[in-house]
């Protein structure tokens, strides 16, 4: 019963809707939040949504990881998930990590320079100098 429900959600459209909502949450956060740290967090949410999109595209019901079984022939691709999106997303995760690292370093410098991370306040203090 439980397996059936999981399989239904994993193979149906529900996943795609959830990913789309996650992407829009990230985008909404970047546009509306005034705190620069929250903007960076929203950016991460958006990147995670894109990563999940790729991973979801690589899924197939009733298959296993892309590691060759002793009993299987090489040519039998129907037994495996598509491993390429996983490989791509490893790279994309590293890229997202690097972006977060640079963003946090910049946030730290901004905070030390202006004493705040609220964007309007940062601009106000920039004007004063």
């Amino acid at each position: 019963m439980f397996d059936g429900v999981v399989a239904y959600y994993l193979t149906g459209y529900t996943n795609w809707w959830l990913i789309a909502i996650l992407l829009l949450i990230g985008f909404w956060g970047i546009v509306t939040q005034q705190n620069l740290l929250k903007k960076v967090m929203a950016l991460n949410v958006m990147q995670v949504a894109v990563i999940l999109f790729f991973l979801n595209a690589g899924q197939k019901a009733g298959t296993t990881l892309g590691v060759l079984r002793a009993s299987e022939k090489v040519g039998d691709v129907s037994a495996y998930v598509n491993p390429l999106p996983h490989a791509l997303m490893l790279t994309a995760i590293v890229v997202a990590l690097a972006i977060t690292g640079v963003a946090l370093a910049l946030l730290l410098r901004v905070y030390r320079s202006y004493g705040t991370l609220e964007e309007p306040e940062v601009f106000r203090r920039m004007q004063q100098q």
Binding site: L23, F27, I30, L36, K39, V40, L43, M46, Q47, V50, F53, F54, A57, P85, L88, T91, A92, V95, A98, I99, V102, A103, L106, L107, R109, V110, S113, Y114, V122, F123, M126, Q129
Partner: protein
């Protein structure tokens, strides 16, 4: 060795960039020598590859680690990407030479970081130009963007905020591009550009195809700074150190425009959703040309004026892509070259003025022509090229664009191009007038002695008096390492203009997509 030229031109900057911070600890002149040599080697690789491709008359396909596409990553050098890599590596070398005086007084750590980040940016841009793989393009886009964010942040307290905002906007753009690639991958099952190009046409006119095209267009349009997605550009350009800015302004937006050209004309056909998207981009570009030029007129700060001018000029390239006949595409590629050379040169000149006199305000430029005659002469050439005066390269890019829009019957675009030329003339003549205001020239006073009673006549004219930096000894108007790239680029503006026909017939006409209507 020559068989591996396509990968060498991306790998050399990346590897030397990694090694540079360590080399600086050994000896700063050694590190500078190695970095300059690496930039020269990159330029050599690009030029050799371009010449070989033009000789052979067909694209050079290089398979990474011997894996044939679509399984492996493929680097493709055709005349178009050859031109782009040569342009990028040439500017990398010019900017590194120009950066010499800026770096002299810096600590070893700062020098090492600068070299590392700069070469990473160069490597990323080179990779974007040569790659034949859509996902690989994303990775290189992020390499060069990340290094560029850090380089921009080096310009002081104001540049920190500009860099952070650029980082957030740029990463959203990259995510959009990646999502668009995701849709293409789901539709075709391939990421190799040539492979996707053969699989895509029957699939493109579907909801997923439309989403993919729109997401890629939006992502790259942010990177190109196409109006109204240009918000990051003016602040970023205003606060970046001059050597970095000369490079970034010259090539970074152009390489993104190149990626858009590559994907919309070489991977996807200009039909269905692509031509609809291009039409929207074309009108945005037309609006951006006018907006950028008008905003440039309104600026008092020379750097900010050039930044808004970039918003307008980059849109010319997109306009050329939107019109999409062979004349307009030649114009777009020619404008990529001309705007890169001229805008890079103008930012180098702006940086030199700041270096020599400490000012960026146009009002303070009065009589600058007497203090820096050679630099200002080259500025005049660059400004004329930007406006579009015939023997210079800037004219020919616009000329082909105008011819292309006449051929396409797009009279609205012809009007925009002509009006924008007038507006460009307005904002450059404002500066030229100031610079050559010789009769109002005030006596130069020594650096840092403003407090000691100014001559009475200076108080009548607006702005601060010009300052002379001590230590130049009055021989050269600039340190030699700054003067050389400026002169080199100034000469190339004239030479490229005079020999533009050779450029078009021998190189650019082979840089057009094979599926032109």
């Amino acid at each position: 060795m020559t068989a591996h030229l396509p990968i060498l031109m991306a790998i050399i900057p990346l590897l030397v960039g990694m090694a540079a911070p360590l080399l600086v600890l050994l000896s700063a002149p050694l590190a500078r020598g190695v970095v300059l040599l690496a930039a020269l080697a990159t330029l050599g690789c690009s030029a050799a590859t371009l010449i070989r491709v033009l000789d052979a008359g067909r694209a050079w396909h290089y398979y990474l680690a011997g894996w044939p596409p679509p399984w492996g990553i493929e680097y493709v050098i055709d005349p178009l990407s050859g031109v782009m890599t040569t342009l990028v590596s040439f500017f990398a070398l010019a900017a590194l030479i120009y950066a010499g005086p800026y770096l002299e007084a810096r600590r070893a750590l700062e020098k090492g970081t600068f070299y590392a980040l700069f070469l990473l940016t160069v490597g990323g841009l080179m990779g974007m130009c040569v790659t034949g793989d859509l996902f690989n393009l994303f990775v290189f886009l992020e390499i060069c963007s990340l290094a560029a964010y850090a380089l921009i942040a080096a310009g002081g307290r104001r540049s920190l905020v500009a860099a952070l905002r650029y980082l957030i906007i740029g990463s959203v753009a990259a995510s959009m591009y990646l999502l668009g690639i995701g849709y293409l991958y789901v539709m075709t099952g391939s990421l190799n550009m040539a492979d996707v190009a053969t699989l895509l046409p029957p699939l493109l006119d579907s909801p997923a195809g439309i989403l993919a095209v729109v997401l890629i267009a939006a992502g790259l349009a942010i990177k190109v700074a196409l109006f109204p997605l240009h918000g990051w550009l003016p602040d970023t350009y205003s606060y970046t150190p001059a050597p970095v800015l000369g490079f970034i302004a010259a090539v970074m937006t152009k390489v993104s425009a190149y990626a858009l050209y590559r994907i919309f004309y070489f991977v996807a056909e200009a039909a269905g959703p692509v031509s609809a998207t291009l039409e929207v981009l074309g009108w945005l570009a037309a609006a951006g040309i006018l907006f950028g030029s008008i905003m440039a007129i309104a600026q008092r700060d020379f750097w900010r004026m050039l930044a808004y001018s970039s918003v307008g000029q980059v849109a010319y390239i997109i306009l050329g892509l939107a019109i999409g006949n062979s004349l307009a595409l030649i114009g777009a590629v020619l404008h990529i070259i001309s705007h890169a050379v001229v805008k890079g040169l103008l930012f180098f000149i702006a940086g030199s003025i700041k270096w020599q006199t400490g000012t960026r305000r146009i009002a303070d430029f009065a009589g600058l022509a007497r203090q820096m005659p050679l630099t200002m002469g080259i500025f005049l050439v660059a400004a004329m090229s930007m406006i579009g005066v015939p023997p210079l390269i800037g004219f020919f890019g616009k000329w082909y664009l105008v011819l292309g829009s006449i051929e396409a019957g797009a009279w609205g675009f012809v009007a925009v191009l002509i009006i924008s030329t007038l507006l460009t003339a307005v904002y450059f003549f404002r500066v030229i007038e100031r610079v050559y205001e010789l009769d109002k020239l005030r006596p130069e006073i020594e650096y840092g002695s403003e407090a000691q009673g100014l001559p009475s006549e200076t108080s009548e004219t607006a702005g601060r008096p010009l300052r002379v930096r001590p230590g130049t000894g009055g021989r050269l108007e600039l340190p030699a390492t700054m003067l050389v790239p400026v002169i080199l680029l100034g000469v190339s503006v004239i030479l490229l203009g005079i020999y533009n026909e050779l450029l078009v017939t021998n190189v650019i006409q082979y840089a057009l997509p094979w599926r032109l209507p």
